[in-house]
């Protein structure tokens, strides 16, 4: 029987980005003993990459803003398949969560009268994003980290959870390994919060780090929980495309918020050519008005570059496909042009977008204050995830909670920029609060030694297979290429059916892939274990995408290019059946209360 160390906590939080840290802080503040597991070192989670800001209707810059406008913007951006209760809670609670960060030491940029400054962002009607230049995510994670380390939370760094342990219908623990020595760990917990982020590593071109392998999605799925909205993957319109080694790295939407424009190789601002009907009344119809909007003119409407990410990505793909792309297969994003409008433009750009300046200068030899950037879409975010209760964030499995990117609901078919950081805070807090409450009402469950034993054996299998056959990286690369090609920005039935066939064969390859060496800090071994997760989420994305025979938000079908009102009435669920196969089901969206319907109507 393999050896393992046992740790016991009231609440175990898996993942230490914004949502996980916020959940851990909340659970711990309410008196629970908390364990926090993170795959990397503390403070390195993907949240550090967030650039633009935290969306919250503080109304510091434009007093017309309110939770109602934020709610309506979020629902419109999500094409009305969002969980409306989550969107409502999010819009109402985000301002308090931002102010709380300030009380914990965060230093946001300021307005002239010393309050938190807010910036424009895609799909938000008013300037709404509290920010720190273009490194807001770092500010947020560091603030939570520095606050959290004094809360008595037990942090298990560089530790990966591979399996949840159940007692009957309830989750009572988790099994995993620590990277450093490769030792196994069993966590007993009365309640468990998944906050593991996204799935970007299932694609070749992504802004996501190695950690984004769909762990939480897969752990929940394997434990019998429902996943929801997996077809909705967000392709961020602006990733770096040149040189090849930086392909996919994010270029913040803040560039466009500060006045950056998108152009094709003919110098045309193509975003003016296709403005969707439901955004027409809110969008500038000339360049002058768009510029005035970015400079804070309240009478002006936003430029079309700040339309939602799904739309901007598709417009970019169209320009490239029709031969109007940039030399390396993208389009141009130009912020340098503002020197025609502002006297000290280069300094202004460096101050507002310091890490973008730095990133392009160092990685691409491009001075963004002098010349345009080349950009193209990059896999950025998954709207879908673990299906949760809006108030408590509990999944369909007792004792198992989820928050942040790995949970579904708030974003519907497309997420607005800035709504992720606020989502992490609002629902991270809620998950922590209700997980702690659940833990107060329940005793530790019984750990079934057989489940633990099985998990331990599965974890060492890649070593048993050795290095004679294929390595894990080759399977991973093949999967990423395939998902990019067949289940990417533009989808159709034929290609996705082919994708399912590929997934079956990759599954077989993954079961044969072996590694050498030993368990101490062995990335090949880690990659081999991650394959199961990548394959699971890829299958869920593909099956859900086949089921949604329409185009909506981040999901675009060239064989069904229009929105179909019938498809606005349900979410698509994927779950594991008793025989281990993946089942696809439709869950009707509950009727929205009149009060919220009126809010949406009011804001049209």
């Amino acid at each position: 029987m393999p050896e393992y160390q046992t740790h016991e906590h009231d609440v175990l939080v898996v993942g230490a980005g914004g949502a996980g840290l916020r959940a851990a802080i909340e659970a711990s503040a309410s008196g629970a003993s908390v364990g926090l597991v993170c795959k990397s070192l503390l403070g390195k989670a993907h949240t550090v990459m967030a650039e633009g800001g935290i969306a919250a209707a503080l109304a510091n810059v434009d007093d017309r803003d309110s939770w109602k406008v934020h709610f309506a913007d979020t629902m419109r951006g999500g094409q009305y398949v969002n969980n409306w209760r989550m969107a409502e809670l999010h819009a109402k609670e985000a301002p308090d969560r931002v102010r709380e960060l300030e009380a914990w030491g965060a230093m946001f940029d300021r307005t002239a009268d010393g309050r938190i400054l807010q910036r424009n962002f895609g799909g938000h009607r008013y300037p709404r994003l509290a920010h720190v230049g273009d490194r807001t995510g770092l500010e947020m994670i560091r603030t939570l980290q520095d606050h959290g380390i004094h809360q008595g939370i037990d942090v298990h760094m560089e530790c990966t959870v591979t399996r949840l342990v159940k007692d009957g219908d309830r989750v009572v623990g988790a099994f995993g390994y620590e990277r450093e020595r490769g030792r196994f760990k069993l966590f007993r917990a009365k309640a468990l919060v998944l906050a593991t982020g996204g799935v970007g590593r299932a694609y070749k071109i992504t802004s996501n780090s190695w950690e984004y392998t769909g762990d939480g999605h897969t752990l929940a799925y394997d434990a019998g929980a429902d996943l929801m909205d997996m077809e909705f993957v967000q392709f961020h319109p602006t990733g770096m495309i040149w040189p090849p080694s930086v392909r996919g790295i994010l270029v913040t939407e803040g560039v466009r918020g500060e006045g950056g424009v998108l152009k094709n190789n003919q110098g045309r601002r193509f975003m003016f050519d296709d403005i969707p009907e439901n955004y027409r009344s809110q969008t500038a119809d000339n360049e002058e008005e768009g510029w005035r909007y970015t400079q804070g003119d309240k009478a002006a409407r936003r430029p079309p570059e700040l339309l939602t990410r799904d739309h901007v990505s598709r417009c970019i793909v169209r320009e490239i496909k029709e031969g109007r792309g940039s030399p390396h297969g993208g389009v141009f994003l130009d912020i340098s042009w503002i020197k025609a409008r502002l006297p000290n433009a280069p300094e202004h750009i460096k101050k507002k977008l310091p890490s973008m300046y730095h990133q392009f200068k160092q990685l691409a030899d491009i001075d963004i204050t002098e010349e345009p950037m080349e950009v193209g879409p990059t896999t950025h975010y998954i709207m879908g995830g673990v299906r949760v209760d809006a108030e408590t964030q509990m999944s369909t499995v007792a004792g198992l909670f989820a928050a942040g990117e790995c949970a579904a609901g708030i974003n519907g078919a497309n997420r607005l920029g800035g709504n992720s950081l606020s989502d992490l805070l609002v629902f991270g807090k809620r998950a922590g609060e209700f997980a702690a409450m659940y833990a107060r009402c329940h005793e530790h469950g019984t750990i079934d030694a057989r489940q633990v034993d099985e998990a331990a054996h599965a974890a060492v299998e890649p070593f048993d297979r050795g290095t004679q056959g294929e390595g894990p990286y080759q399977v991973q690369y093949a999967l990423q290429e395939m998902m990019q090609e067949l289940v990417g920005i533009v989808r159709n039935e034929t290609e996705m059916q082919r994708a399912l066939g590929c997934l079956t064969s990759f599954g077989e390859r993954a079961r044969r892939a072996g590694v050498g060496g030993h368990r101490e800090y062995n990335p090949g071994w880690h990659a081999a274990l991650d394959l199961h997760n990548l394959l699971t989420v890829s299958e869920a994305i593909t099956r859900a995408a086949i089921e949604r025979r329409e185009s909506r938000g981040g999901h675009f079908r060239e064989d069904y290019p229009d929105k179909d009102p019938d498809f606005a009435t349900f979410n698509i669920i994927t779950r594991k059946t008793a025989d281990g196969a993946m089942e696809v089901a439709r869950a009707p969206i509950p009727a929205m209360p009149d009060e919220l319907k009126n809010v949406i109507e009011e804001m049209k």
Binding site: S40, D146, S209, Y473, V515
Partner: protein
């Protein structure tokens, strides 16, 4: 035509190790981390390396490249002399774990020893504060820190003199400076800085400032002002007399 370069990577653990040469194909715009990943995927699956964001934002992939403390993800191959093998080795100030991965856990403990942020009461009835952008900017420089620990790696007080028990190192002095200069903070850290955190050990060689990938002026903007603060608060004879007259009994 494919160009090849050789990477001389340190392979080993806490007990022993040696450099091993890996020739690999290189292409336009590659950074050292790309080369390491390629070698890991094609020649050495078990080559241990930390990384996350690959964009200079998380501070995970710190190493010594051709002897210089660098983030591997931000070190372009065209900045290096590829006519000879490029050496890649772990940060030498910290205990080795495996290959390029070191034990940096001491840093997390050191940070915890610094008194946490303690804000003054809110300025407005709604519980919010007012701060001027200019005051915020001074501290924002320090808050850019990505905790890559390259400054700790290069600091001779830690690297050569191994004073880990007496000195928290430049990273944590930057952290203390950010708290001390935070317009809302009311805690006092002068005594700890002197006695526990060893601010006096820094003799301003500025090596930390030179290697900071975020361009933080560590010595001039953070450490020297902290040294001044310690002197002002703990050694100023007028202030000391004032404390005595007021009945203060804090021993320095």
């Amino acid at each position: 035509m494919t160009q090849t370069a050789t990477f001389r990577i340190w392979r080993g653990d806490a007990h022993s190790g040696a450099f091993k040469d890996y020739p690999t194909a290189i292409s336009d715009g590659m950074v050292v981390l790309d080369a390491v990943h390629q070698i890991q995927a094609e020649q050495a699956n078990d080559l241990a390396v930390r990384w996350n964001c690959k964009a200079g934002k998380c501070g995970s992939c710190s190493a010594e490249v051709d002897g210089h403390p660098r983030l591997m993800c931000m070190t372009r191959l065209n900045q290096l002399d590829l006519s000879k093998p490029v050496t890649v080795e772990p940060m030498r100030a910290f205990p080795a774990i495996r290959d390029l991965v070191t034990d940096v856990s001491w840093n997390f403990k050191a940070k915890q020893s610094i008194a946490r942020f303690k804000p003054r009461p809110p300025d407005a009835a709604d519980g919010t504060w007012r701060m001027a952008q200019v005051d915020v900017e001074r501290v924002q420089e320090f808050r850019k820190c990505i905790e890559c620990f390259l400054c700790q790696d290069v600091c001779h007080v830690l690297r050569d003199h191994r004073l880990f028990d007496e000195f928290v190192g430049p990273r944590h002095l930057v952290y203390a400076a950010a708290l001390e200069m935070h317009p809302l903070d009311t805690a006092s850290r002068a005594r700890d800085l002197k006695h526990t955190h060893g601010v006096g050990f820094c003799n301003i060689t500025k090596c930390c400032t030179k290697v900071c990938p975020e361009g933080i002026t560590i010595t001039d903007n953070a450490i020297i002002p902290l040294k001044e603060r310690v002197i002002d608060q703990l050694y100023d004879p007028v202030a000391k007399l004032f404390r005595v007259l007021r009945g203060g009994s804090h021993a320095v």
